[in-house]
């Protein structure tokens, strides 16, 4: 039993390595990484994202651990600008920007240009 507790405490003393999370920005909406590889299904004949189809993948909240990195993939044909209290990411079309969230707590981030794009990030 003692051995087990020792092993557990030994394991706990190593923090889990920081993880990467991928958030996509499509049709002026935050969507989950489930859309990866499915872009063509969400587009119309002219290569524009169809809002109704994008909505099915809408992401409103993500939970991450302190120290994790969130990669923001701007797959839209418009510029986005995700910002929070302590950061500001100018995102050109088809660009990826990342941000490490060190502090625990819940925050809401938005696109400054498209304020309807909101995402709650819960950092545990």
């Amino acid at each position: 039993m003692n051995k087990l507790i020792l092993t557990i405490s030994f394991l706990l003393s190593f923090p889990a390595s920081a993880a990467d999370h991928h958030v996509f920005q499509i049709g002026k909406t935050f969507v989950s990484n489930e859309v990866e590889g499915k872009f063509s299904l969400l587009k119309n004949g002219r290569g524009r994202f169809i809002k109704k189809k994008v909505e099915e993948y809408r992401l409103t909240t993500i939970s991450i651990k302190a120290g994790d990195t969130v990669h923001f993939h701007n797959n839209d044909n418009v510029v986005h600008n995700v910002f929070g209290k302590e950061f500001d990411l100018h995102q050109e079309k088809n660009s990826i920007k990342k941000r490490i969230f060190h502090e625990k707590g819940t925050r809401i981030i938005r696109c400054a240009i498209h304020p309807k794009m909101k995402l709650k990030i819960e950092v545990e």
Partner: protein
């Protein structure tokens, strides 16, 4: 296809001349790389059919950055083939000519262009279509997407397929399920109270101005003035925005200063320059009116009566201010003759060449976004609240285009008197080129017929503002 190819390296850059494009034979287009970024400054360039195009490309990377570029024009439909070649491990730009020599993928290609140097291509684009321009340096075009599209006129207004038009029309279907917030749900008594307050001049310090003084139903809920005056007689700094279809909106006023309609409704009433009413005056007015006392008690039983509560009623009333079906909506619903053929062409231009629907999207004709569109004014708009965000300086909220023909003058400062002035403004890519200028604003090269078509279309968005 007649192709004329010229190379020259010059240290000057040309300006793009777009005036009277229909009459000129040679069009000069200036295309730059974006500083030290691996990107072009423009993603789309519109070109009329059959013109000779003189393209000057300037590599704007710093002299010591060692970032070199190239610009090539790909024939319509051959982009994927070119990208395939670029993906090959042994691809090397200095050998590019060998890679492409057995293909007919490229229309023209420049040599390597060093930082701060320019290159020039002259081509004749005599088939309508999309021509990709791309940097063939390894990784630039294929991995980092350093490419863009020449839309050669004829494509946009005329080449939407029937199924594409059908799909497009779906995006503009009215959806009038009004969302009311949980903290302020709809009740009839709140609506009635809000309506009474909206038209009541006693809501201003002088008893001369009601909400409806500036938001007049017959003028699309605006007042027809470039700038209005408040109770002090002083001219206000921004044009009265419409309050039509705000139930679905996010962040209110030109600069997004209010997070809810409740918060927004309160501000003009208490603002010193607008209606200038304080709580004491408000309370006195309500207490002396039995009607109001009864209505407040019915709408908000047991709640203390103040301006905040009044704005909850006003917000409830405002959420019901929805545009009624216009000729455009009838067309969307399938009545083919509801709008003219000019207007139909205008609708396609709106979604294509004129690039309007990037922001003015959906049945409300807005995505509630904030942009610096290049209005020549010192007002920093949204930048007042987001000081550090470059793109928010001089940025204002995208207004709905419903009833736009009734809502002149236009823009946050009322500086454009007519729709023609507005279209001309967008056509020349705005007036003030600042670092904050939105990347959605660029030269459109619209012909005078196309401008008229757009205006015809915009006029189909007018309908009566009905207040129940």
């Amino acid at each position: 296809m007649k192709i004329i190819l010229l190379f020259s390296f010059a240290l000057f850059s040309c300006r793009t001349h777009v005036d009277a494009l229909d009459k000129v034979r040679v069009i000069q287009i200036e295309l730059n790389s974006k500083g030290n970024e691996i990107a072009f400054e423009q993603d789309y360039i519109h070109i009329p059919l059959g013109k000779r195009v003189k393209l000057t490309f300037k590599n704007k990377a710093d002299r010591d950055s060692e970032i070199t570029h190239n610009v090539a024009i790909i024939k319509p439909g051959k982009e994927s083939k070119v990208l395939e070649l670029l993906e090959k491990e042994e691809y090397d730009f200095t050998e590019a000519i060998n890679f492409f020599k057995d293909t007919d993928y490229l229309l023209a290609s420049s040599k390597i262009i060093e930082p701060q140097q320019s290159g020039e291509l002259v081509v004749t684009l005599d088939e309508p279509g999309r021509y990709t321009f791309i940097c063939l340096m390894p990784g630039h075009g294929n991995i980092l997407h350093m490419k863009g599209i020449f839309f050669v006129k004829g494509l946009h207004a005329n080449s939407f397929t029937t199924s594409e038009i059908k799909e497009l029309k779906q995006e503009y279907k009215r959806n009038i399920n009004i969302p009311f917030p949980k903290h302020n749900p709809f009740t009839k008594s709140k609506y009635k109270l809000g309506k009474k307050l909206f038209f009541d001049k006693r809501l201003s310090a002088t008893g001369t101005i009601s909400c409806a003084t500036c938001h007049r139903p017959q003028l699309g809920l605006e007042d027809g003035k470039a700038l209005s005056k408040g109770v002090t007689g002083k001219t206000l700094s921004r044009h009265t925005p419409t309050i039509l279809n705000l139930a679905w909106s996010e962040l209110f006023s030109w600069d997004g200063r209010s997070r809810s309609l409740e918060e927004q409704a309160k501000k003009p009433i208490t603002d010193q320059l607008e209606m200038g009413l304080n709580e004491t005056q408000f309370s006195k007015m309500i207490q002396s009116d039995q009607n109001y006392l009864r209505m407040f008690t019915k709408a908000f039983p047991g709640r203390p009566i103040n301006i905040g509560l009044a704005s909850h009623a006003l917000a409830t009333f405002e959420r019901k201010l929805i545009s009624t079906p216009s000729p455009f909506d009838e067309w969307i619903e399938g009545k083919e003759d509801a709008i003219s053929s000019e207007a139909k062409r205008g609708f396609l231009l709106f979604n294509g060449k004129a690039h309007c629907s990037t922001c003015h999207s959906g049945w409300r004709f807005t995505d509630d976004s904030f942009h610096d569109i290049g209005i020549d004014s010192a007002d920093i708009g949204r930048g007042k609240f987001l000081k550090k965000i470059n793109s928010m300086q001089h940025a204002f909220k995208t207004p709905t285009l419903r009833n736009i023909a009734l809502r002149s003058p236009y823009m946050h400062n009322g500086s454009k008197r007519t729709l023609k002035e507005v279209i001309d403004f967008y056509n020349r890519g705005g007036d003030k080129k600042r670092p904050s200028l939105s990347s959605e604003i660029f030269l459109l090269n619209l012909t005078s017929q196309e401008k008229r078509d757009l205006i015809s279309f915009l006029k189909t968005l007018s309908s009566e503002v009905r207040i129940e």
